[in-house]
């Protein structure tokens, strides 16, 4: 066995340039794949983070049935043991309470249907990015209890601006009419047309008053340190709460459209990688094929000297394995390096693209997120494919009879 390895190794390096090129091809495929997957994952995470940091949170806790029927009927009092459970999870970085209801907003002559959301300004400043989306004026604060911030589109439709007063009208929790006057303290723009066109935010206490909710709330938005910890946190929370009364939902359950977008992009990314691997694989196939045919005489000699054909197959196979291994390892190193570099220096987008992204509330940079599984799946895929590609040539090589082989030019 050791002889074989030695032989294989020496055979491989007999043609340095050729070997290096083949190894380079494999390494290239691996490096690009690993880098691209890292980039893709990074982009998805960024997208998810951007979107859910505005208004959704990574997880939410509500009264059971709330998500399908967002009325004040499905509100709850946040009991003490809630907050205790939340603070016991180390992966939870922050959480924010909210209360929401559908109602009417009226200013002067115009009346629009709106979603009224009450939030806790201090908690939100730590958790969501809403505060950064204020384009005019300022965010909510507890010092101005009757303040409100409205979306840019809505402000236009209602014909209001900073300092104006708007009337909000809702059907309260106990069926009675809730109404109040609020001063426009800020105008926001999130890039999400739904939000900008039909949402107003109030202080949580003001909203609870308006809705006649007392100290009940509609939802708790929860943020974690890393999205990969999500499942575990969700599990822990579900274990600690009465699931007959409450529901714990993760962002993918809350925003299936975002999930679809990502799955779609992911799938096309995988297709592209498959294509890449096919192209490289054929390159390897042809290289090995030529290599084998070049050595027909050599094989002929070996067979004439008594070596069994299957041992020749074995030899070629080991050579290919060595090549593939080298390529994969090298590719991983380069890929890892690329990922590492871009991890600390995110790619900045071109001018026009950057501006466009910021319009929609995205940051104009591309991030990478290398994970162990990325390296693993790419390596295995490339390795397996390149090995498969060597089978045909080797089998061909052993079909030669020694006499013909020796005469082969």
């Amino acid at each position: 066995m050791r002889i074989f390895l030695k032989m294989a190794w020496r055979n491989v390096w007999r043609h340095k340039r050729r070997t290096l090129l083949t190894v380079a091809a494999i390494a290239f495929a691996v490096a690009i794949s690993v880098f691209m997957r890292g980039l893709q994952r990074g982009t998805y995470e960024q997208m998810i983070n951007n979107v859910i940091r505005i208004n959704t949170g990574y997880l939410q806790i509500h009264k059971k049935g709330f998500w399908d029927n967002k009325t004040l009927k499905y509100t709850f009092k946040p009991e003490d043991h809630f907050l205790e459970i939340l603070s016991r999870q180390p992966q939870i970085t922050s959480f924010a309470q909210r209360a929401e209801a559908n109602g009417l907003a009226s200013a002067e002559e115009n009346t629009n249907g709106v979603l009224i959301i009450g939030l806790d300004p201090q908690a939100e400043a730590k958790a969501t990015t809403l505060k950064e989306k204020i384009k005019k004026g300022k965010f909510l604060s507890e010092e101005i209890p009757q303040g409100t911030i409205v979306g840019e589109e809505l402000a236009k439709n209602l014909n209001t601006d900073l300092g104006d007063q708007i009337t909000l009208l809702v059907q309260g929790f106990d069926g009675s009419l809730g109404a109040g006057l609020y001063s426009v303290e800020g105008i926001f723009r999130t890039g999400d047309p739904e939000l900008d066109r039909s949402v107003v935010f109030l202080n949580l206490k003001a909203a609870q008053e308006l809705f006649w909710l007392g100290d009940r709330i509609s939802q708790i938005l929860i943020f974690v340190d890393d999205i990969s910890n999500l499942k575990r946190v969700a599990q822990n929370l579900r274990a600690g709460l009465d699931l007959k009364s409450y529901e714990v939902m993760t962002w993918d359950e809350l925003m299936p459209e975002l999930v679809q977008l990502i799955a779609f992009d992911n799938a096309s990314g995988q297709l592209f990688l498959a294509l890449l691997i096919v192209v490289v694989a054929f390159g390897i196939l042809n290289t090995v094929l030529m290599n084998v045919f070049e050595r027909v005489k050599e094989f002929g000699v070996m067979m004439a000297l008594g070596m069994q054909p299957k041992k020749i197959v074995g030899l070629v196979f080991i050579e290919s394995t060595l090549l593939s291994l080298m390529g994969v390892v090298f590719g991983n190193i380069v890929g890892f390096g690329l990922n590492l570099y871009f991890l600390h220096h995110p790619i900045s987008l071109s001018e026009s693209l950057a501006r466009a992204m910021e319009e929609f509330g995205f940051t104009a940079k591309l991030f990478v997120k290398p994970t162990f599984s990325t390296f693993l799946e790419v390596s295995i895929a490339v390795f397996v494919v390149s090995l498969i590609m060597t089978i045909y040539p080797t089998i061909k090589a052993t079909r030669f009879k020694p006499v013909e082989a020796l005469r082969h030019i």
């Binding site: 069926g175 009675s176 009419l177 109404a179």
Partner: protein, 250 residues
């Protein structure tokens, strides 16, 4: 001999005190619809709403002129006091005392419940819906609370903008006062039931003074209206039915 008995029977039947046989189902429905309205009326009523989560009581007074004009003023409890509604034809305005504003109720709010009850704002403004939008048929008789009732089935006219598939109405045979109304969806499932009780004389007529609406699709949702005072066909100042009256002080 047989012939004479037959003749006497026929004679008796023809002159039976059951006058209602000469009234068509359409006229019956019109009478019911008209009973609680008259040419004009004023009423004071108590509305009690119960749900599994809460229950409330409101006292309100209302004025009505013809089929087009209605004005409602909430008297109690304090948090709802001075909330007022004005209906002119098919439009509804509301005055909110807390912010001193008048708001026209837009379509999105029309189907919302009035003060949390099992009646919607739309129910309030739909005048003579029973008469305009449905075709009634007499389907039989029934006994309710030891009283004989006619049972009418009302099917909506094809173009009528009503969500129900069918209504059933029970009226007392002796005075055509309604005792029960059932609301069905198109799959002929029963959605709501309204029961009328406690017939008393108010003003110039007898009316049921206790109305109870139960929503069968929402568990334990009930609205009870008790008429405390009512007067019919009296003179009412038309300036009551103006927007200015909505926002008056006191």
């Amino acid at each position: 001999m047989k012939k004479i008995i037959l003749l006497i029977c026929l004679f008796l039947i023809a002159n039976s005190p059951n006058k209602a046989f000469s009234i068509t189902p359409q006229e019956m429905v019109k009478k019911v619809d008209d009973l609680l309205r008259g040419e004009s009326n004023t009423m004071t009523m108590q509305m009690i709403v119960t749900t599994p989560e809460w229950s409330r009581e409101n006292i309100m007074e209302s004025w009505s002129l013809g089929t087009d004009k209605v004005f409602v003023n909430i008297l109690s409890p304090a948090k709802d006091k001075d909330t007022r509604f004005l209906k002119l034809e098919y439009n509804l305005w509301m005055y909110i005392p807390k912010v001193e504003k008048v708001i026209k109720i837009p379509p999105v709010m029309m189907m919302q419940s009035f003060m949390g009850s099992d009646f919607s704002y739309d129910d309030m403004v739909k005048e003579s819906s029973m008469v305009k939008d449905y075709v009634p048929h007499l389907v039989g008789q029934d006994t309710l609370e030891q009283e004989k009732n006619y049972v009418l089935e009302l099917l909506p006219k094809p173009d009528a903008p009503v969500v129900y598939g069918k209504l059933k109405l029970w009226v007392r045979t002796k005075d055509l006062i309604p005792t029960r109304e059932e609301f069905y969806n198109e799959k002929k499932e029963i959605i709501k039931v309204m029961v009328f009780k406690d017939v008393k004389k108010m003003g110039d007529r007898f009316i049921p003074t206790y109305w109870e609406m139960t929503n069968l699709k929402k568990k334990d949702h009930k609205t009870i209206i008790k008429i405390q005072k009512a007067q019919f066909n009296i003179k009412i100042d038309p300036s009551i039915f103006t927007k200015r009256n909505l926002s008056r002080i006191g």
